[in-house]
Structures are given as C-alpha cells and as structure tokens.
C-alpha cells in the first residue's frame, strides 16, 4: 500500500486555493501517521476489522478510459480467482432514477445536486460496498468521492464543505488518476456517442456558447481540481493518453503488487478483445 497523507481538513477551516492547500498538505504528509480507513468520523455502525476486502478507485474526467479499464481489470481479477464488485455514479437503488430526472430537467441547483449525489454515494457504500468488503471482495470503483468533489467545487461549493460531507467515506487502498488532456477526451467522447452532452460540457456553467470550447474549458477546470485532489490524497497518476493495453499493464502492476498476485500475464478474452487497442 502506498502512503496516503492523512490530511482531511476540518469542514470549518478556511477554504484555500488549490495551490495554497497543496503546500500545507506537503508539510503535513511529512508526519508519519498510519492513515485511518476513514477520512474523519467513521460511518455509524462500521467495524473496520471486519473489512477484509480491498478498494481500488479509478478516477479521471469523461473520456479518460475508466470504464474500459474496469471491464478489463474485472476480467483479469476474476481469472486470478478474485471476486469483484463494482460501483460508480448514479448506480444506487435509492436515488439513481431521481438524479437522472434532475439532470434531464437541468433546473437543479448545484447544492441540491451535490447532496443527491452524496445520497447516491452513501447508499451504494453502506448497502453494497461495505458488505462486499466484509466478504473479502475486491471493489473496483468507476469514479469516487473525488469526481463528486471536483464537479461541485468548480460550481462554487467550498472544497472543505465537500470534504466534510465525505469524511465518513472509506479511504481507498489505491486511487488511480487516468490523466487525459481535454482535447483527447473530446475526441473519445465524440466518437463514443457522436455528440457531446449538456453536463459533460458543463453547459450549466455558461462557459461558452460554443460546445467544443465549453467542453474544453469545463474539463480543464475539472482536471485542475483533480490535480489538487491528487496531491491532497496521494493519487497514483497514470498517463491516460497511452494505449489501452499500456494503461492496463500499469494498473495491473500496481494492483498485483497490492494483492500479492505473482503472474502478470493477461490477455483479454474474445468478448473483450475489441477494447484492447
């Protein structure tokens, strides 16, 4: 496991700029403290010693290749004999549908949306992920609290406020950041669906009437937040512009080391061969 700095700020502390905070964090991470599996107060009723599974998180903007990598990693881990559970955004039983409706109406305010996503996150964490970790499963998260924090932060909600909401979230064993330039992300997203959606171009923020410009500016803002979060939480940065097979090799190497898997051999099955570019 990598050393992850334990420096979740108190929600009441002043909201600093990313640059300012990262300086502070570097100082703090010098202290060798064993990081807790939670950022702050644990969730009510959770016993840490019961959680024998492992949580790996893949973060990155739209078009960074997360979902492709999750599919491949799942197959690889299953072939190695590990049971895998996945999580992601808007996948809770409780509020996924309601968030879809809110997004379709696009009249929702940033704070309300942030808290609905928070509900979605904790519903999955408490009712699906913690039970999986208790049973010793490997959890692969397609995005985590970091995307939620980044999206709300660029819309003007305080970073410390957001960290405060997620202080009861479980700290991942490893967080990978698939870093991709917005221009590359645009190409990938456009190829995927032949259009660019309202939310992934951040049109609610009135950045530009030009959809391409809006997408680039919005994803650049998100990327800047990731840069800050990466320092604050010790992400493992991966060059997401590399080929799928190369990114996958880098991820497998780290995960294999964390789980004690010896053999690094993996070739995708016929069903997933189309992803292997």
């Amino acid at each position: 496991m990598t050393s992850i700095p334990k420096n979740m700020a108190s929600p009441n502390s002043k909201n600093g700029s990313p640059a300012k905070n990262s300086k502070k964090d570097k100082k703090k991470s010098g202290q060798s403290e064993v990081p807790s599996r939670f950022y702050g107060v644990p969730l009510p009723g959770v016993k840490l010693e019961e959680l024998s599974g492992t949580l790996f998180v893949l973060e990155g903007t739209d078009g960074s290749g997360r979902s492709t990598q999750i599919s491949l990693l799942t197959e690889w881990l299953e072939s190695e004999g590990f049971a895998v559970q996945t999580m992601g955004l808007r996948r809770s039983f409780l509020v996924a549908e309601d968030i879809d409706t809110l997004l379709a109406e696009n009249s929702v305010t940033p704070m309300t949306l942030a808290l609905m996503y928070g509900t979605d996150f904790f519903d999955q964490l408490e009712r699906r992920i913690l039970p999986a970790l208790r049973s010793g499963l490997i959890v692969l998260a397609d995005r985590y609290i970091y995307t939620l924090i980044a999206r709300s932060a660029v819309r003007g909600i305080g970073r410390d406020y957001l960290h405060g909401i997620y202080e009861m979230a479980l700290r991942p064993d490893l967080t990978f950041w698939l870093n991709v330039k917005p221009e590359i992300a645009f190409d990938r997203e456009f190829k995927k669906s032949q259009t660019i959606s309202y939310w992934e171009s951040g049109r609610d923020m009135s950045l530009s009437n030009d959809l391409f410009q809006s997408f680039i500016r919005y994803q650049s803002l998100i990327r800047r937040e990731f840069d800050y979060l990466s320092q604050r939480h010790g992400f493992i940065e991966v060059d997401g512009e590399e080929s799928v097979s190369e990114v996958n090799r880098v991820l497998r190497k780290q995960i294999a080391a964390a789980l004690g898997i010896r053999s690094m051999h993996y070739k995708p099955s016929h069903a997933l061969a189309h992803l292997w570019r």
Partner: protein
C-alpha cells in the same frame, strides 16, 4: 403599523431579546419554529401567519420536507426500509437545499418575511438522535441562513407524546425511530426516540439562541407572547403593506 396590528401589552419575563442579531446580507427576515412532534409549534406558527396575512404583510410560509424533488426517493426508501441514518440525513438535506436555494434565499433577498415550520435544527436534533455525527451535520447544513428568531416550543415529553399517539392510529416506521432498533413496540420506540430528540433540542437553546416557548401555556396566551417577541426582534414595518 400600529393601525394594522392589534395592540399587545404583555411583559416578557425571560427577556428573550438578548442575543445580538447576526449581520444579514439581505433585506428579508427569517423566523422559524422548532420542537418535537406535539409541542404545538405548527399551531402557533399558523396563528402567527394568519395574523400577518390579515395585516397584509409580505410573508412566505415554508415547511420541512415539502418539495417534490425527493418525494419519490423518500417514498422508495421508507417503503422498503432502505434508509440508513446517513442517507436519511442526506436526502433531507438535498430537499432542504432545493428549498433554500430556490425559495428561501430568493425571498430573503427580495425582502420577504419568511416563516419556516421546522428548520435545520430539526435535522440536528433528529439525525443526531439516529447516530449521525453532530459535527458532520453542522457542516452539512452550513449553507443555510441563520434565522432572525428561532422559537423553540417545549412541552414535557408525556404531553407531546400523548398528543401524537392519541391522534394517530399507527405510528410510521421511521417516525417512531424503529430503524434504530430501540424497541419492538412502536409506541415505546417513539417515546424513547422523541426523548433523545428533546434532549438534543434542549442542548441547542443556548448555543443557537432559541427563544424558549412553554408549549403547555394556553394557545391564545402563547400566541400573544409570540407576536410580542416577533415585534420586538423584527422590524415589522419593513414588511408592512405600502399605503
């Protein structure tokens, strides 16, 4: 103003007007009522609202958990009993945020006197009774404007609980705090849950400048006091109809 409002002559014993008014960024005012179920708060706020309405004041009334936004989620969660203390709390916070950002704040900026039946203190008292961290809850609601007056209606536990139990054939699962597993008997669980909430409210009297209202006082007398406190603490002429 005096011509619109009936004259009130009552001397407030516990002078609840000591707390310094926080600085406002808006011309409106926010008055809220809090207290456990059966404390009489809704009746009193209704009477206050009627008094102001009849006088033609610029007011708006809002209540906890009233937006359609989270209704389906709350229903789904409650029917299937999926809500944990955390998701229960977040869902209500999302609902409140929607009301706050789209209703309460615009109205305060537009110079309204906003009356709220329950406010963030309901979440502080109730969600902490469910086991949420008070520190986490304070952060969660830190975007909410601080009220000009918070009337806290306090009735002895037995009085309040009897008022509710007598009027309802069956207490609902979450309402009775059955999710906490305190007791298998709903009435018993409700009582213990309400007691915890009551204790949490009591602890906020000083920290959050509550105006303590004795819920056992006759309705009309208590209303008279409420109107007096409002007139003392809020400059009502700002909200009066223009002549």
């Amino acid at each position: 103003m005096a011509s619109v409002l009936p004259e009130i002559s009552i001397t407030t014993q516990s002078s609840p007007t000591k707390a310094p008014a926080p600085k406002r960024q808006y011309p409106g005012a926010l008055v809220v009522v809090e207290g456990i179920d059966g404390s009489g708060k809704s009746t009193q706020l209704y009477l206050l609202k009627r008094w102001l309405e009849i006088g033609g004041y610029r007011i708006h009334f809002t209540e906890w958990n009233s937006s359609p936004l989270v209704k389906s989620a709350t229903r789904r969660g409650k029917q299937r009993r999926l809500l944990t203390p955390t998701t229960f709390s977040l869902l209500h916070a999302a609902d409140f945020a929607d009301r706050c950002e789209r209703q309460i704040l615009p109205l305060l900026h537009g110079g309204y006197l906003v009356l709220a039946d329950r406010y963030i203190y309901t979440a502080f008292a109730r969600d902490a009774a469910r086991g949420c961290s008070p520190h986490w809850l304070r952060n969660l609601y830190s975007f909410a404007p601080v009220p000009d007056i918070t009337f806290y209606f306090r009735a002895p536990l037995d009085v309040a609980v009897n008022r509710i139990v007598a009027g309802r054939p069956k207490l609902k699962y979450y309402e009775a705090g059955m999710d906490l597993g305190i007791s298998l008997d709903r009435a018993e669980s409700f009582r213990i849950f309400q007691e915890r909430i009551l204790n949490n409210y009591d602890a906020m009297v000083d920290t959050d400048n509550f105006v303590l209202m004795d819920g056992t006082v006759q309705v009309n007398k208590l209303q008279k006091l409420m109107r007096q406190v409002l007139s003392d603490k809020v400059e009502l002429s700002k909200f009066a109809p223009k002549k």
